[in-house]
Amino acid sequence: MKDAPIIQMEGIMKIFYSDEIETYALSDVYLTIKEGDFVSVAGPSGCGKSTLLSILGLLETPTDGRYCLDGLDVRDLGRNELAYVRNAEIGFIFQSFNLIGDLTVEENVELPLAYGGMPAEERKKRAKEVLERVEMSHRRNHLPYQLSGGQQQRVAVARALSTTPKILLADEPTGNLDSKNGDRVMDLLKELHGEGTTICMVTHDSRYNAHADRVLSLFDGRVVNEEGLVEVTV
């Protein structure tokens, strides 16, 4: 259902404790992302972008506040329940691709499906589909180190898409790529968004904010500005 909120954050706070120092990574963050949104999170280094994405992806738990993912309050979920939700609802794309070096392209893509309990035959079929979608099916038996950075990131996108997640979280997806490959990956994300995929992306590159519907600006762990695309000066 279009316009239904997939993500709802209220008063999210994240404090890191090291020795006797408390670091406020996020303070009082309110955020709603609706189905089909493409949200870009911008801000200087250390402002809390990655922490926000980690909390959105259930990789990190907030110190305080309420977070509902697709209507489910995730505060009380256990470790394995979080893993289940992550597998079923969220797709990740990382800056450094994070493909597992010892697995082939196809096996990397199949991995989240295997965790979801999909039978092997179906997994193969689904992996083939998504690899075709990112034009990487011809390299399915290769190992990650045999691919270029752009190709590795496209495989990572395919892996993120394999479980048909409710939301795709991209952490600096073009950070380790040259501009040509970066553009290609962004075109892919744009295409996916065009097909209705919800995306939340962290990027340093202001050029790519243009692809998003909304740009969320963070500074010192606080949301300082949220603007519609049209109002953002690129």
Binding site: S54, G57, L59, E60, R79, N80, A83, Y84, R86, N87, A88, F92, F94, S96, N98, L99, I100, G101, L111, P112, Y115, G116, R159, T163
Partner: protein, 838 residues
């Protein structure tokens, strides 16, 4: 390029050493682990090397150089094989052999020694009768006085003795007037003619030497007239002529021996061959040698496991130093520098480990030595010192261990591409080092641990079974001692030899608390031992002595049944009516009846011994059947007679006795409290008589008897346990390192939806294959080795099937913990943290 001076090189070396120490301090956890592992491995190896060096490889030092050989007369009938020969035969060997340069002979036991010029009680010492040329043969000079002269064996003169330096200090307070004084040895006066040099105790741990030309066989009145079957038999020692090999000497001696056997078939027809062996090798019995070398081998296996551990630890440390080593390389370090840096790291680690090993060895050697010396008298030249040879071994061990542990990691580090490493380290953790080689080494560790676990569990099981066998008697309530009444009465047939002990028994039993007292001859603790003798059954014809049945024979006296609570299975016990004047009688054991007269009534049957001076001549009538009084054997009941101590014949002391008496006293509570009383009562027979040194309870005596056995078994057990722990530590460290290296991967997996179970599986999947292959290989090897050991060590105690499940459970538990802990830790790490790991 600059050329380095020696000073620069030394300074550079010290800089590298300092850096190596800094690295050790940087990773205290893995450093301590590596040091403990190496200390354990080297400690075990040093201990066993010191043992082998001090016992198997040491020899007595004599003024006259050259190898001294022991000569054995090996008999066909191994039960009868005493390795000694009649002095009459010794004289023939000495006069006829052309291959032998010189010979000497000795025989001995322990004897009570009483110094009439002192107030002290008599004390028992090791005592040898030796040929007149004994000291000359060894090239020994006396500390005081002289060695033996031919007239010392003259019947017209007093008996003479040479005493050890230790006995001189103890009995004479190092007074030089000891030479020429009279010492009561075995109840008879002996003139001290010399004091041996300090430390000399040859041929074992001896204190008294008496010159002898072995008159007894010549004076014997045996029916054969030759005296060759007289119980006096000697050990022969020889030096071979230059260029003569032991095999050549054996061949010549065998020819002479055959001649003797042909001439005196009645006594010597049992000859199989002559055996000429270096004395020190002969002295260490084969089984002791086999066990010691078996332990030595196992200790190296433990060391190899420790080295494998250190190898993997250094491999891991080197992997985490990829960036640092690459920077060194980028700054101009050549291959030798890189390898040297890594090897130095290993050298520092193993050196500190070896220091710990020396400490462990020092403690464990003390422990082993106390066990070792609690047995019977051992060679005086044995030691367990960390001498120069052992310390040389330690240095070699450190060098080899460090090279073995760190050379390969160093070479691999030097070979890897610098640019790639720098890039690799910048982005992800290094995967350069933990590959097939580490897995292979880990597989070896697991195999070696399995082998040692197998052997050690079996040994511990044997040890447990050996110590928990039920007793048919009360071993803690019975005190076992003995004394030698030599010199009491006219001869061995004098009735006083029976009357005096019986009077002593009456006096002792009058004390409230003493339950009963009894005397035995030829028995150990009253129940074990016995002289293995051939006998004849009435109505049977025997062509020669080899066809005769054999049994262990011991003499017992009144009260035996009370001391050992022996309820006869048939017939009657000896009583006061069994005397020299009445019918000669004997009692046989149940095992004897089962073996020789199955299904028959033994009572009334008659048996006979030939020419045994402490057994009455003529037929003895069986009057009773004795139950089994000893513990079950450790192995299965064997049909081999030599393994059966329970085929026994008991004869009454009143019908034939001996000056050397065993005595058993039973009382409620600790019977050792009666030792001073017994000593006082014995002194009433004569002040020159004393209790044997080995005055202990039956239980203690068995512990002493089994001390070396228990020591071997315990050491095998400890080695196995050490190896198992080291194996688990090795697996743990490699799994920890592997898990650490894959932390980011686990983060990715968790981000993709992997739950705790998936992560644990991902961690242990890599280890399981290695564990399965390594342990299977180890189990097969362990099984084979154990079967071989059972045969060579004559341990035949239980089916091996029992060991398999225990080993498998132990392996699974220890290795499971080693793998499970890092896996569990990985699964508990928050994924965002894992993803941040570089």
């Amino acid at each position: 390029m600059y050329s380095k001076t020696g000073y620069d090189k030394v300074m550079s070396f010290f800089t590298n050493i300092r850096f190596a120490f800094r690295l050790l301090a940087k990773n205290p956890g893995s450093t301590i682990m590596a040091i403990v592992v190496m200390a354990t491995g080297t400690g075990v190896a040093i201990t066993m090397f010191a043992f082998v060096n001090g016992v198997l490889w040491s020899s007595p030092d004599f003024a006259k150089k050259g190898t001294i050989y022991n000569i054995d007369w090996v008999e066909r009938d191994k039960y009868k094989n005493s390795q000694r020969v009649s002095p009459l035969d010794y004289e023939i060997f000495e006069s006829e052999s052309e291959q032998i340069d010189e010979m000497t002979a000795y025989m001995g036991w322990r004897a009570p020694v009483y110094n009439p010029s002192s107030d002290a009680f008599a004390k028992e010492y090791n005592y040898k009768r030796v040929s007149v040329n004994f000291f000359e043969f060894l090239g020994e000079k006396m500390h005081l006085g002289r060695s033996f002269l031919p007239e010392d064996v003259s019947r017209e003169k007093d008996d003479t003795v040479v005493i050890s330096h230790a006995l001189w200090r103890e009995q004479y307070g190092s007074n030089e007037e000891a030479v020429g004084s009279t010492l009561m040895v075995g109840g008879l006066p002996h003139k001290v003619v010399g004091v041996a040099r300090p430390g000399f105790r040859f041929p074992d741990d001896n204190n008294l030497w008496k010159a002898s030309d072995w008159p007894e066989p010549r004076m014997s009145t045996s029916p054969s007239g030759t005296g060759r079957r007289h119980w006096v038999k000697v050990y022969m020692l020889a030096r071979l002529k230059e260029g003569v090999t032991p095999r050549q000497a054996e061949a010549e001696l065998a020819t002479i021996a055959e001649g003797i056997a042909n001439e005196y078939p009645e006594s010597n027809d049992n000859l199989l061959r002559m055996n000429v062996e270096p004395f020190t090798e002969w002295y260490i019995r084969d089984e002791v040698e086999n066990r010691a070398y078996g332990l030595f081998l196992c200790s190296f296996l433990v060391l190899a496991v420790a080295c494998a551990n250190t190898f993997n630890l250094i491999m891991s440390r080197t992997a985490s130093r990829t960036s640092e080593l690459s920077i060194r390389s980028a700054l101009g370090a050549n291959r030798a520098h890189i390898v040297g840096q890594v090897v130095l790291d290993g050298l520092v680690l193993t050196s500190i480990g070896a220091l710990g090993g020396v400490l462990i060895a020092g403690w464990s050697l003390k422990f082993i030595w106390s066990f070792f010396k609690s047995g019977y008298s051992d060679a005086y030249w044995w030691h367990m010192n960390l001498d120069a040879k052992v310390m040389g071994f330690v240095v070699g061990l450190v060098f080899v261990s460090s090279v073995v542990s760190s050379l390969v990691p160093g070479l691999r580090a030097a070979r890897s591409a610098t640019a790639e490493n720098l890039k690799d380290d910048a982005r992800t953790s290094s995967g350069l080092f933990v590959g097939s080689l580490s897995r292979l080494i880990l597989g070896f560790q697991i195999s070696a641990s399995s082998v040692l676990a197998f052997v050690s569990i079996l040994m511990l099981a044997v040890w447990y079974k050996s110590n928990t066998r039920p007793w048919p008697i009360e071993p803690t309530e019975i005190l076992s001692t003995g004394f030698n009444l030599a010199g009491l009465g006219e001869d061995e047939h004098d009735p006083i030899l029976v009357e005096a002990p019986r009077a002593m028994k009456e006096r002792l039993e009058a004390y409230p608390g003493v339950d009963s007292v009894s005397f035995t001859i030829k028995a150990v603790c009253g129940i074990y031992g016995g002289t293995f003798l051939p006998f004849e059954m009435e109505g049977e014809d025997y062509e020669n002595s080899r066809q005769k049945p054999k049994a262990r024979v011991m003499g017992i006296d009144l009260g035996y049944e009370d001391v050992f609570d022996a309820k006869l299975l048939a017939g009657r016990m000896f009583n006061s009516l069994d005397t020299k004047e009445t019918e000669a009688v004997c009692i046989v054991s149940k095992r004897f009846v089962d073996y020789y007269w199955p299904g028959e009534d033994p009572i009334g049957k008659r048996i006979r011994f030939n020419d045994i001076h402490w057994i009455r001549d003529g037929f003895l009538t069986v009057v009773g059947v004795m139950p089994k009084l000893t513990r079950a054997p450790l192995g299965k009941e064997s049909s081999d007679l030599s393994n059966i101590g329970d085929i026994k014949i008991y004869t009454p002391l009143a019908q034939g006795t001996h000056a050397e008496l065993g005595m058993q006293l039973r009382s409620k509570g600790d019977p050792r409290r009666w030792i001073p009383t017994i000593r006082r009562e014995l002194a009433k027979i004569g002040p020159q008589y004393t209790l044997i040194t080995n005055t202990v309870t039956v239980m203690e005596d068995e512990y002493r008897f089994l001390a070396k056995e228990n020591l071997t078994l315990t050491m095998f057990g400890l080695f196995g346990a050490a190896s198992l722990v080291l194996g688990a530590v090795g697996l743990y460290s490699i799994m920890s390192f592997d898990t650490g290296r894959r932390f980011r991967e686990f983060g990715i997996r968790m981000a993709l939806g992997a739950d705790s179970k998936n992560v644990v599986y991902a961690v242990i999947r890599n280890g399981i294959a290695t564990l399965a292959i390594g342990s299977s290989f180890g189990l097969v090897l362990g099984h084979t080795l154990t079967v071989l050991m059972q045969e060579s060590l004559e341990i035949n105690v239980m089916p091996l099937g029992f060991v398999y499940p225990v080993v498998v459970v132990l392996l699974i538990t220890s290795m499971g913990v080693a793998m499970g802990v890092p896996a569990w830790k990985a699964s508990r790490t928050p994924p965002s943290q894992a993803l941040r790991v570089n």
